[in-house]
């Protein structure tokens, strides 16, 4: 396997596309949260790949990725707590059930 920038970008694009597809197609809120993580991780992969091959300052990309990981954890916490709140009210975590607001 050659370790070129292109192969990393290819994988991260595929991850990104899978994440966006999941956001659009899945109806389960936890599945949506997982798709969200795929998008964030594809961005992280992009950053480390660019960091290895192109970035002038070799710390910039790594620092960025550490921040992405930390903020993604915070995001998952908030997301799960809101999902729990919704579950207590509706006894479902399917987004189709959250349909009272329309138009």
């Amino acid at each position: 396997m050659s370790q070129s920038l292109e192969s990393y970008l290819f994988i991260s694009s595929a991850l990104f596309a899978a994440g966006v597809y999941g956001m659009l197609a899945r109806r389960n809120l936890v599945a949506l949260l997982i798709s969200l993580e795929l998008i964030l991780n594809s961005a992280s992969l992009n950053f480390v790949a660019f960091n290895r091959f192109l970035l002038a300052d070799k710390t910039a990309g790594q620092v960025f990725v550490v921040f992405i990981i930390a903020l993604a954890a915070a995001e998952a916490t908030i997301g799960l707590s809101l999902i729990l709140l919704l579950y207590r009210k509706k006894h479902s975590i399917n987004i189709e059930e959250a349909k009272e607001l329309r138009g």
Partner: protein
């Protein structure tokens, strides 16, 4: 390092820490004590923002830039924050036990928005954006009854997806230019500005801020969140969050002059936002939803100024944003009073019946704010639209301007429907006149006067905005 440069941020951070400590003690002060304390603390932050007005400097390894541009937006965010804290005095939609959390997230969001105005590095931009967003997600779900969680979940998922897309675009821009600072990117990207990768990067980076601005393809969250969040929170989302998004978009487009393709994409977004916002607003019965769709349309007008770019375009966008914060806050002021009076969180058009008889003052505030939103002279909204559209005309976007003017006419229809309910309809039998405390009266009067004065004497603010644009650019 000079700490006075970031005085308003430091003050807000201290306020957050204080609120956090109070939360840890688990002893919530009575609402009668907490509201005045928050008022004083907010006024202190305002003094700090005024004190550091006009300072300039570059901080934290040149990721954070304090200049006239950022300070103008910080004052604007502060004004929205102050009004929100003021509206929260009569907040019945949130339990007393959750007041501390409420104020904590409000202050944290304001801090994030102030940081957004100063951020000149992709990393600072990301962190401050998320600080503001996460607080807003929680705020929009922090209501003790109703359908709150649903809107919060929708807001979170749309917002998080938008910031994921932002990150992906940011990684592309950083990769192409080899730098994460906006200055470094704009230096290295010159030859590549029209390349597909940088075009995709720029559009993706703007995605997140267009989401905050609730521009067309990313507006889905706005009506739901406006409908189900507490009124002061909606006011904060509708004013401060929009101002911060305009700050970042303007700064970003100043550093990276958009290619013709990118301008075309923005034109399409502005076009669609205005059309959709105004057309759907015509059918709304719920006043908060009506204001949500009106904000989608207003996002379109602001984009007209941003895509015109140059000194004129950006300064007119800044002016219009300032006017927008004032008129929207005035509209939400009336909505929150009517909601309080009717005991109904989501006042419908019929709740405004006979407002002029029951409270002539509130009806006048409503009239001025709505006419200004519609762009009737001599109010601030008219002057703002005038300079926005003339800046865009100078750049040759005549079709877009023509469309925007037509849209303003359409918008007049639904704004006037609300005015008609307030002035021409009879109040329901037996409703007493609405009492208004002195403090509320003063704030309403101040908002009205500033809208009128900005409309008649706009020159001071326009020249300030022009200086801010000069200071906020690359050189």
């Amino acid at each position: 390092m000079d700490w006075t440069l970031i005085l308003p941020e430091t003050a807000l951070l201290l306020l957050c820490v204080l609120l956090l400590c109070l939360m840890l003690i688990r002893k919530t002060p009575a609402a009668g004590v907490l509201s005045p304390l928050m008022g004083i603390a907010t006024a202190g932050v305002g003094l700090a923002a005024l004190w550091s007005f006009g300072f300039s400097g570059i901080l934290f390894f040149s990721t954070y830039r304090v200049d006239l541009f950022s300070q103008c937006f910080k004052l604007l965010v502060w004004a929205a924050f102050f009004l929100t804290v003021f509206f929260s005095r009569s907040l019945h939609e949130i339990d007393d036990g959750r007041r501390l959390e409420y104020y904590f997230f409000l202050s944290a969001a304001a801090l994030g928005m102030m940081m957004m105005a100063s951020a000149v590095d992709l990393l600072t931009l990301y962190v401050s954006l998320e600080l503001a967003s996460y607080s807003l997600y929680l705020l929009s779900a922090l209501k003790n009854r109703g359908r709150d969680a649903e809107a919060g979940v929708k807001y979170l998922f749309f917002g998080a997806a938008a910031s994921g897309v932002f990150l992906w675009g940011a990684s592309l821009l950083a990769g192409i230019s080899g730098s994460t600072s906006l200055a470094g990117i704009s230096e290295n990207i010159h030859g590549l500005i029209a390349s597909p990768a940088s075009l995709v990067g720029m559009i993706f980076v703007c995605f997140s801020f267009l989401f905050k601005l609730s521009a067309f393809p990313l507006h889905f969250w706005a009506p739901d969140v406006y409908e189900s969040a507490a009124t002061p929170v909606v006011n904060f989302i509708a004013t401060a969050s929009k101002a911060a998004a305009v700050a970042v978009l303007a700064r970003f487009l100043m550093f990276l002059p958009p290619s013709p393709e990118f301008v075309r994409a923005l034109t399409a977004i502005a076009f669609a936002s205005m059309t959709l916002g105004n057309c759907v607003a015509l059918w709304q019965e719920d006043v908060k939803r009506l204001l949500a769709y009106s904000s989608v349309a207003q996002a379109g007008y602001i984009l007209v100024g941003l895509l015109a770019a140059g000194g004129e375009g950006f300064s007119s966008a800044i002016f219009y944003t300032a006017a927008y914060v004032l008129m929207n806050a005035a509209a939400f002021f009336v909505v929150s009073r009517v909601a309080l009076d009717s005991g109904h969180d989501n006042p419908r058009l019929s709740h405004f019946d006979g407002l002029a008889e029951r409270s002539p003052f509130l009806a006048l505030v409503l009239l001025i704010s709505l006419l200004s939103l519609a762009g009737i002279p001599p109010l601030a909204g008219f002057t703002g639209k005038w300079i926005l559209f003339s800046a865009a005309m100078d750049k040759g976007h005549w079709f877009l301007v023509l469309w925007a003017v037509l849209n303003s006419v359409v918008s007049l229809f639904y704004y006037l429907t609300l005015v008609k309910h307030a002035y021409l309809e009879k109040p329901k039998e037996g409703l007493p006149p609405m009492a208004l405390p002195l403090a509320a009266r003063t704030v309403g009067l101040a908002l009205c006067l500033s809208i009128i004065l900005l409309g008649i004497f706009p020159n001071a603010l326009i020249s300030l905005a022009q200086e801010a644009v000069l200071s906020g650019g690359l050189h």
